[in-house]
């Protein structure tokens, strides 16, 4: 089995995949990054779809425009939309998925039936889910009229067309919020170190926290952040926030994906050795303590991988939003949709490439460490 000829055949059999993925994944990603530094589709003298189009290098101009140009507000809206979608979709799916996992672990009669039901939306296309929920979320019918079945008053929430904006913020406050988040993280770490009486790393963390505070007090943040024109303009005229129109889309996404979380966490639960649970119970652990001290810690790696999988799905989200509120809806637009509208509707290939590159970068940041950890654990 180790003779030279067979090993050569083995290598040869793998070659088509290497070459195809090399071209269709890595070469194409590289090309997208390259296009993002050109004026392809921005230069009126060069028809974008002409086979002899000349693309001129413009450096990082496309990125600068996306971040600062007033007419590119749609892109910055898509980033805030994606952020809120990410946060609430991940929290909601994991919350519901974990709840289902723990409930179905209680020797439920008809367990297999319930599992089949809750996982079934995973077999549907996001386009199907989107079409269904779009009908359910019509303002004068659907879910809003569910209470009328019981003789109650209907709701009047305008779901996908809502103009409400919650959790409003302006760009100039972002450094402040980031400082708060950073400080809260440091405080959490510091408390944990103190509880473990790890004084040396506690000192390290505290000094880091002091540096963060000093940076903020010194106004360095504002020096980095505020000179951007857009920060000043959009802070005064167009506060950003959590668009209420996203709520329906988040609900539909949770409906579709919580069964997936349940499936992964259940696999994790089944991996916990039965004697571990029994030993804890014999030792007099109350059942609540069995959960908080044994089951949940054992599930932690599985929860982390679902956060990463769902998180990277929300960075790429396209079809669900497309089917629910259309590709041109400013209240629900996502970066993944802008790549489509800018590239395939408006032929602004360079800008579409820049947005695609930003999405790619975000996905790589969360997926590469994950893959690294997964592969390391398996070997």
């Amino acid at each position: 089995m180790r003779n030279r000829r067979d090993r050569f055949i083995a290598l040869l059999m793998l070659m088509p995949t290497f070459i195809l993925l090399g071209i269709f994944v890595y070469f194409f990603l590289g090309k997208t990054i390259y296009y993002s530094t050109t004026d392809w589709g921005e230069n009126p003298a060069q028809p974008a779809l002409s086979e002899t189009v000349i693309r001129q290098n413009v450096g990082l101009e496309n990125y600068q425009n996306l971040m600062t140009d007033v007419i590119q507000a749609m892109f910055r809206n898509s980033l805030t939309n994606m952020f809120f979608f990410f946060v609430f979709f991940v929290i909601g799916s994991i919350g519901l998925g974990l709840l289902l996992t723990l409930i179905l672990d209680q020797k439920i009669v008809g367990e297999a039936f319930f599992r089949t039901i809750f996982l079934s939306p995973m077999a549907l296309s996001f386009v199907v889910t989107g079409t269904i929920w779009r009908w359910l979320l019509q303002p004068d019918g659907g879910l809003n009229y569910l209470p009328t079945v019981f003789g109650l008053e209907p709701f009047h929430f305008n779901w996908l067309n809502s103009q409400e904006v919650w959790l409003q913020f302006t760009w100039d406050k972002v450094p402040l919020y980031l400082t708060f988040v950073g400080f809260a993280l440091f405080a959490l770490l510091a408390v944990r170190r103190a509880l473990r009486q790890d004084w040396r790393s506690l000192g390290f963390i505290v000094s880091l926290a002091v540096i963060v505070i000093l940076i903020f007090i010194s106004g360095l943040w504002n020096y980095i952040w505020l000179p951007l024109d857009v920060v000043q303009v959009e802070s005064s005229i167009a506060p950003k926030g959590f668009n209420a129109a996203l709520v329906g889309i988040i609900i539909a996404a949770i409906w579709q994906m919580s069964g997936y979380v349940m499936a992964i966490l259940t696999a994790g639960l089944r991996g916990i050795p039965e004697d571990l649970r029994e030993a804890a119970q014999v030792d007099g652990c109350s059942s609540l303590r069995v959960y908080t001290h044994i089951i949940l810690p054992q599930l932690r790696p599985f929860v982390i991988s679902t956060i990463i999988i769902l998180g990277h799905i929300s960075l790429k989200v396209f079809d669900l939003v497309f089917a629910m509120s259309g590709p041109d809806n400013a209240r629900t637009v996502m970066p993944g949709i802008l790549v489509y509208t800018k590239g395939f509707r408006q032929n602004s290939f360079a800008q579409a490439s820049a947005i695609a590159t930003i999405v790619l970068l975000l996905v790589v940041i969360i997926i590469v460490p994950y893959l690294y950890m997964q592969l390391r654990d398996h070997d």
Partner: protein, 281 residues
Amino acid sequence: MTDIDFPGTKFRQYTLRTALHVALIVGTIIFLLPIFVVVNTSLKAPAAINLATTWHLPAEIHWQSYVEAIEEFGPRIWNSITLVTNATLLSAIIGSLNGYVLSKWRIYGERILFPLILLGMFIPYQGVLIPLFEFMRAARLYGGIPGLIIIHTIYGLPITTLIFRNFYVDIPDEMLEAAAIDGAGFWDIYTQIVLPLSVSGFVVVIIWQFTQIWNEFLFAVTMTTGASEPITVGLAQLAGGEAVHWNLPMAGAVIAALPPLIVYLILSRYFIRGLLAGSGH
């Protein structure tokens, strides 16, 4: 499985367990409401559909919407069938060979190459869309199903390779060594030992690829046009216009959902294995 040993008497325990079951049943009903609404609306006559009566049952069953939806889809149903059959089989066969090589043959640089293959599964496809569009146009494959078959075959290779590799790792090496000593070569081992043991691996991969490709939308909407579109694009159009008669998109949604849903319901055990493989477990 652990029982929550609720404090108190057996009676209290019994009540709590009953309450748990009742809560679960209520939750399931809420979870299934969207399904009820789709089927319900798809069976109403267009004139009988108005927003305020979403939850009323149809006065009489109206099957006509399904006929109309199928007519509206036209060639798109067959397009999806052609696409799914070809791309699923191609990516499964190549994935099986890859998995065999990666699990049973030592390949130089495998520790770097395997993660690079896997990463192809997670990249945002928006990141390859524009060069892909260019390539498809240059290769005269843009706009049709053959091009889409190639696309789905290639981008399906990471997951099919991963599933087969993990599947073949469990085949004992001694078995293959013994065959090799008897003079079996690369292909003999594959066709006589590995392939006959791969049936459930193929079932997992085929089900996974089938549902993924059938349900896919991004490549479908950017790389095909008009009569060459698959069913998901047809459904988006059916539901996309303003002031649509909702019976039609609802019937369309049922038709588009049925094939993967039936496969899932019959073979959910294998579907879950594909699902877990895709998340690295």
